[in-house]
């Protein structure tokens, strides 16, 4: 049976030692966020996740959701756990105090999210979607809609969904057909079919608020003609409680590879009453304003699953005795623990370096999100927003690819047992797979990076990453102790510079060239970002390493990353510079 313990020490390292907490505490309303205030939140979350959510993970996977007569039943124990989750205030963590929230910065909430994803990703989907609906309404809803609905979303009493995809319209939302007709009283009648709607129907809450993309009658074609509507499952009665049933119903649920305890619904809107959120025809841009947060949220799913898979792989590798490791016996047993085998160590260290590195990069990104939303100086907000815009596609694709690779590696460490359900390792692989696909496939993330984030404002977003990174390299140029970390970082950085300039140059002449190199470029970018994280981690850890095993492990992991993972940037660079000819020239008919 797998186990999970929240990695509190490493989270503290990522937050307090690796990140600019002074900048965090300088934000309005954050001045009392000392470790003494934050630690109890993280500890309580760790306990709740390990004791309440983690035990439901395997049973939820086995049982799955059940669809009967238009009603979705979540697995056994989910409704109770959800109630406890709300009672614990976990839905309100990052929400606006004006509506009952606790106003915790994203950089801290992110770590709680990681614990939820590690312990039970399917469960986490429900409050996650509720938070998405909260964010959309909070940012774009009228005051009336906000007053009516936000307190219910913050308390978790009501849940939410994001209804975007339709059978013919996935990545390309310009193709949606769902219509919204004005009724004349300020509301609209929404008609159409949405698919792949997470949490579209379930038995956890008394009401579900659907945020639906639909087209107004006179809307322009394509993405400029899409509006956003709020369609509640039950229309609120005058006393604020769920009233009449709205004309929206779940038609079926999907049978999926993973996250089986999360309901994925076909939703039919049949003239359902809805209200416009934001401006007409500006629905997609309203969605975009929340996208960075949503994409970082999915990235954390990859991180959470990688972490739990790593923990269990390590536990197994310590216990499992097989063969003699090259170079002599480890202990007196009949065989050595497989932990002693170089290739197993390679697997474990790869998982560790990636997970710990991503954790820091995630906190850095979330911290910039906090600055972008809370800082009083518009110039600082802008800079932080640039950084978040740039890093969001990198983080989403890098973390979720890493989640898939790490969970597969974790399964590999267990050998045949990894393939057996009761060990739990194969569930992580199945659950992790979706994160590479939804909230914009990782291919789309790469296109976003090279097609948009790289070029807007003549590359200004890039400055927020390239300049501080170069400043870090230059600041440590003469530092002999750090040279083994900073030199590989500098090399990766110059590769990234070269590929950035080259892709930008080629992309100007021929956009297909930039697109052809996009995925490799995103990976190169991500690995360089993690190299920065690890060089900085080495800088922080080195002084304490002689006396403290935690820091010794940090330095050793940093060394592993520089020597065994970062060299991939060389291969990626070669592939990028080779251009897109080999993709273009292959004849369509020959596929």
């Amino acid at each position: 049976m797998p186990s999970y313990t929240a990695p509190l020490r490493d989270m503290q390292f990522a937050l307090y030692e690796m990140s600019d907490t002074a900048a965090l505490r300088a934000l309005p309303g954050c001045d009392d966020l000392s470790p003494d205030a934050i630690d109890p939140v993280l500890e309580a979350a760790g306990v709740f996740c390990a004791e309440m959510l983690f035990p439901l993970n395997r049973s939820g996977d086995e049982e799955g959701c059940r669809f009967e007569n238009g009603v979705v039943h979540t697995p056994k124990g989910f409704p109770e756990a959800y109630r406890a989750f709300c009672d614990g205030g976990w839905t309100a963590l990052g929400c606006d105090p004006a509506y009952g929230g606790q106003g915790l910065p994203h950089s801290i909430g992110l770590l709680v999210q990681e614990m939820i994803c590690s312990s039970n990703l399917s469960f986490g989907m429900y409050p996650g979607l509720g938070h998405g609906a909260y964010a959309a309404l909070h940012r774009h809803g009228t005051q009336e809609l906000r007053n009516l609905y936000l307190p219910k979303l913050v308390s978790g009493e009501w849940a939410g969904t994001m209804c975007l995809t339709e059978p013919q319209s996935g990545t390309d939302l310009g193709l949606i057909r769902t219509r919204a007709e004005p009724v004349g009283d300020g509301s609209y009648r929404v008609t159409g079919t949405k698919i792949f709607i997470s949490g579209g129907e379930h038995d956890l809450t008394g009401n579900i608020l659907h945020l639906v993309l639909a087209k107004l009658p006179d809307a322009p074609s394509g993405t400029r003609g899409i509006s956003l509507f709020l369609v509640p499952k039950f229309l609120p009665a005058d006393d604020g409680r769920p009233g009449a049933r709205n004309a929206v119903a779940c038609g079926a649920i999907e049978h999926k590879m993973g996250i089986k305890a999360s309901s994925t619904c076909v939703m039919n809107f049949d003239g359902a009453q809805g209200w416009l959120v934001g401006e007409p025809n500006r629905g997609l841009s309203a969605m975009f304003t929340m996208m960075n947060e949503a994409r970082l949220g999915v990235a954390i799913q990859g991180l959470g699953l990688a972490e739990v898979s790593y923990q269990n792989a390590v536990a197994y590798a310590r216990e499992r005795l097989q063969g003699r490791a090259p170079g002599g016996a480890h202990g007196k047993g009949p065989a050595d623990p497989i932990l002693a085998h170089p290739d197993v160590r390679r697997m474990l260290l790869t998982m560790r370096a990636m997970a710990e590195g991503c954790r820091v990069l995630g906190v850095w990104t979330a911290l910039q999100q906090d600055i972008a939303t809370r800082h009083p100086d518009p110039a600082r907000r802008q800079e932080a927003d640039d950084f978040v815009a740039l890093l969001t596609p990198v983080v989403k694709a890098l973390f979720t690819d890493m989640g898939w690779e790490s969970t597969a590696t974790g399964m590999q460490v267990l050998g045949g047992h990894g393939y057996i359900r009761e060990w739990g390792m194969e569930q992580y692989v199945r659950d992790a797979r979706i994160a590479q696909i939804y909230e914009g496939t990782n291919g789309i993330q790469a296109l976003d990076l090279v097609g948009r984030k790289m070029s807007v404002h003549a590359g200004r977003y890039l400055r927020r990453f390239f300049h501080p990174l170069l400043a870090f390299i230059e600041a440590h140029e003469g530092n002999a102790a750090l040279a083994e970390f900073v030199q590989p970082l500098a090399k990766a950085f110059s590769r990234l510079q070269q590929c950035t300039a080259e892709l930008a140059r080629r992309g100007l002449a021929d956009p297909t060239e930039a697109a052809a190199g996009a995925t490799d470029y995103l990976r190169l970018f991500g690995l360089t970002a993690l190299a920065w994280v690890w060089a900085r981690a080495a800088e922080v850890a080195l002084p304490h390493a002689p006396t403290d095993a935690f820091y010794r492990a940090k330095v050793a992991t940093a060394r592993f990353y520089m020597q065994k993972i970062l060299p991939q940037t060389g291969a990626l660079t070669s592939s990028i510079l080779a251009g897109g000819g080999a993709l273009r020239q292959f004849e369509d008919a020959a596929f």
Partner: protein, 766 residues
């Protein structure tokens, strides 16, 4: 010979014409019927933007007076231009008075925009009819290059020839001979186009933004479109022009059907919302918070609302293909089609009635209305056969000329020469005035000596080559530098005798490609950028050191690197409308392609300047730190950006020929300039300049980043750590300016300035 000119009527046109005559260095008498009006008009013009005078001193050539008191001053004028109210009786009465004072052989012309010549000479003596013609200037007279000339049957050919010659050579106008018909060429077609564009926008329920986006760029019309143009010229003018045309247009003219009094326009005029002069028309502004909100008029309600980006599928799909746009079924497509059919069929129906050739019509529309393509060029773009078919499909007549051209084009190339379809069904060479040398003709005729994606080298005859940039806005990039190097190599090998640097773009060059530079800076590619700076310095210094003469021939803006290259040339032959300046400080940088070094060297060599190391430094410092740009070639000469012996050409079409002649004149006995050394003030000078800048900070005229930029500039111009008793080689200044440039480029405030300039076209004052 036109030695002295009289202008009667000191309204916008008359005063502007007088100013422009003064710009040509010719004394002019400006009279108005209202006492004092003429001298007030001169005062107003001295403050106006864009400036009617090329240099304030030109105003001294204008003698203002009152018509009744000073009509005698017209006695010794060679050309008297009447620009009074558009009433034939008033004009004829004035002409009768002129007959009493003007000298024999003097010429009289009217600047009427709509009245036929025949209606103006009635009842006047034969002497007057022989000396009279119509010269129709466009507003503003200094800047609009078109002059429509109508010579009547009785006009002396020598009189018309004298005016054409003066307008061409001295005033720099492109003279188009028009038939004596109402509205002549440009206004005849232009007013129909405006009427059609307004009418169809209303009928098809387009917003003003949509109409301007469809009828603007895809048609090659300035991005103001129709409604923006109406705001610019004044909405109240439309009904006046319309009713004046109604009087004189032939019965059955299409304008009578297309023009409609629009209730929305009537209402705007009644409410005084007549355009920019009235702070609002179809577009307006409103205070919002700290900034201003851009508003647009709702054509149905007549109220303002926030400006919206047009959202039309047709425009998204076919913004650069007019024919496909006009075939699109949405409102935008139908609008494009309606405006296109009305305008182009009208133009086709008017040749030869209003002008002998289609190229005269096209030139008039390009120069008079700033269209990128004239109507017949537009027809060639959409296809004459397509247009004829579209007219037939709409049940409309196909003009004879359009039917005759059939499936062919109005323009073709024949033996390397441009030919136009003439009304008689033959193709004839497009005529150029004597002495005009156009790069576009040379390019049509042959292959370049060398070419890359950013620049080309053309043989313009007599061993002279012309280097042309053809990047966006003619910005400098590494390939332009490479082509400069190639030209120097060809000259060094003796394969060319002289080089002219010239192009026919709207601007000579707006400077370096800032987008490329900013991107490279954003990814911290400092080594690469410094390499580019070095390569540019090397290329420009090679131009100066080349063993053959190099002549710059700029027109329009020559900013930043464009100006720096001109400073490295042996001579410059500039179009009168040349706007030069080292504007790098505006984007938080200093000139680093030898701009600092060259300007310093030039000012140090100025014999008239005060002695000592500081005066040339202070002069260059002030010019660069405040990013001064000349408002004309004449002003550039006074600023020292052009030398006293650099030439100025009034007519853009004659610029290349003049530059080539100047280059050839330098070939005999040419030796490149000697290396220069300077005595510079060093750190003490830098401190003095810093003190001066502090004064500007105190008075609020310098921003914090101005101080940073100025200090780097001061360090460069004062020679860094040099001592005034040492001679500093000019090469040292090139190194200093490069280092300063690289240091400034790392500053976030500089990057913010560059980005702001790229995105808004305006400097950021941070």
């Amino acid at each position: 010979m036109i030695r002295r000119v009289g202008v009667i009527g000191a309204g916008v046109m008359g005063a502007g014409i007088a100013a422009h005559v003064a710009n040509a260095g010719v004394p002019v008498v400006l009279l108005d019927i209202v006492p004092g009006a003429a001298s007030r008009a001169v005062e107003t013009m001295l403050k106006a933007e864009p400036a009617p005078f090329m240099h304030p001193r030109r105003a001294r050539l204008v003698e203002a007076g009152d018509l009744d008191a000073d009509i005698g001053k017209l006695a010794d004028c060679d050309w008297i231009i009447e620009a009074i109210i558009e009433r034939p009786d008033a004009k004829r009465a004035l002409y009768a008075r002129l007959e009493a004072v003007r000298q024999d052989g003097s010429i009289v012309s009217s600047n009427t925009s709509t009245i036929p010549l025949a209606a103006l000479t009635g009842g006047l003596p034969a002497r007057f009819a022989a000396d009279f013609l119509v010269t129709h200037f466009f507003n503003p007279p200094r800047y609009m290059r078109l002059l429509e000339v109508v010579a009547g049957a009785t006009t002396r050919p020598e009189a018309a020839a004298a005016i054409r010659d003066f307008a061409d050579h001295a005033l720099g106008k492109t003279v188009i001979d028009c038939a004596d018909s109402p509205g002549f060429i440009a206004n005849r077609i232009g007013t129909l186009w405006i009427a059609a564009a307004i009418r169809h926008a209303v009928d098809l329920s387009l917003t003003v933004e949509e109409a301007d986006a469809v009828a603007g760029r895809p048609f090659g019309v300035p991005s103001t479109g129709i409604f923006g143009l109406m705001d610019l010229v004044g909405i109240d003018i439309t009904p006046h022009v319309a009713h004046s045309l109604f009087v004189s247009l032939p019965p059955g003219d299409a304008y009578r059907d297309v023009y409609r009094d629009e209730p929305i326009i009537t209402r705007l005029i009644a409410e005084g919302r007549t355009g920019r002069k009235a702070k609002g028309g179809f577009y307006s502004m409103r205070r919002k918070g700290d900034g201003r909100e851009k508003l647009s008029l709702d054509l149905v309600t007549g109220e303002y609302r926030s400006r919206r980006k047009p959202a039309l599928d047709s425009l998204d799909a076919h913004g650069s293909d007019l024919r496909a746009l006009a075939e699109h079924p949405d409102r935008g497509g139908r609008y494009a089609r309606a405006v296109l059919l009305d305008t182009l069929s009208y133009a086709a129906s008017l040749v030869p009635a209003i002008a002998g050739t289609v190229d005269a019509v096209d030139t008039a529309m390009r120069l008079g209305y700033a269209w990128k393509w004239g109507p017949f060029e537009l027809i060639d773009r959409v296809g004459a056969a397509w247009l004829a078919e579209a007219l037939r499909a709409a049940g409309r007549p196909v003009p004879g000329l359009l039917a005759r051209v059939g499936g062919r084009k109005f323009y073709r190339l024949h033996d390397g020469k441009l030919q136009a379809f003439a009304p008689d069904g033959e193709y004839r060479d497009v005529a150029r005035p004597e002495g005009v040398l156009l790069l576009e003709d040379i390019k049509r005729d042959g292959k370049p000596l060398a070419r890359n994606a950013s620049a080309s080298l053309w043989d313009i005859g007599d061993g002279v080559a012309c280097l042309e940039f053809h990047t966006k806005s003619n910005a400098f990039d590494p390939l332009v530098m490479a082509m400069l190097g190639r030209a120097v190599a060809l000259g060094t090998e003796g394969r060319i005798r002289a080089l002219v640097v010239h192009n026919e773009g709207r601007n000579f060059s707006v400077g370096a490609n800032l987008g490329l530079a900013l991107f490279a800076a954003n990814i911290a590619a400092w080594g690469e950028i410094e390499g580019l700076v070095e390569a540019g310095q090397k290329a420009f210094r090679a131009v100066r050191a080349a063993p053959f003469p190099v002549v710059g021939a700029p027109s329009g803006m020559a900013l930043g690197a464009g100006c720096e290259l001109l400073l490295h040339c042996d001579a410059v032959q500039a179009h009168a409308e040349t706007y030069m300046g080292l504007v790098e400080a505006g984007v938080g940088l200093i000139p680093a392609w030898g701009g600092c070094a060259s300007l310093l060297a030039r000012f140090a060599a100025d014999k008239r300047a005060p002695k000592g190391p500081m005066p040339p430094v202070a002069r260059a410092f002030e010019m660069i730190a405040t990013a001064q740009v000349s408002k004309s070639a004449a002003e550039a000469q006074e600023m020292g950006l052009l030398r006293a012996n650099d030439g100025i050409t009034a007519n853009r079409d004659r610029l290349l020929a003049d530059a080539k002649a100047r280059a050839l004149a330098l070939v005999e006995g040419y030796a490149p300039p000697e290396p220069v050394t300077l005595r510079l003030p060093g750190p003490a000078g830098r401190a003095a300049l810093a003190l001066a800048v502090q004064g500007f900070v105190g008075s609020g005229r310098a921003t914090p980043h101005d101080v940073v930029v100025s200090d780097r500039l001061a360090e460069t111009l004062t020679g860094g750590a040099t001592d005034p008793i040492d001679a500093t080689p000019l090469d040292r200044i090139y190194d200093l300016e490069r280092h300063a440039f690289m240091a400034l480029l790392r500053q976030p405030a500089t990057l913010a300035r560059i980005e702001h300039m790229l995105e808004t076209g305006k400097p950021l004052r941070n």
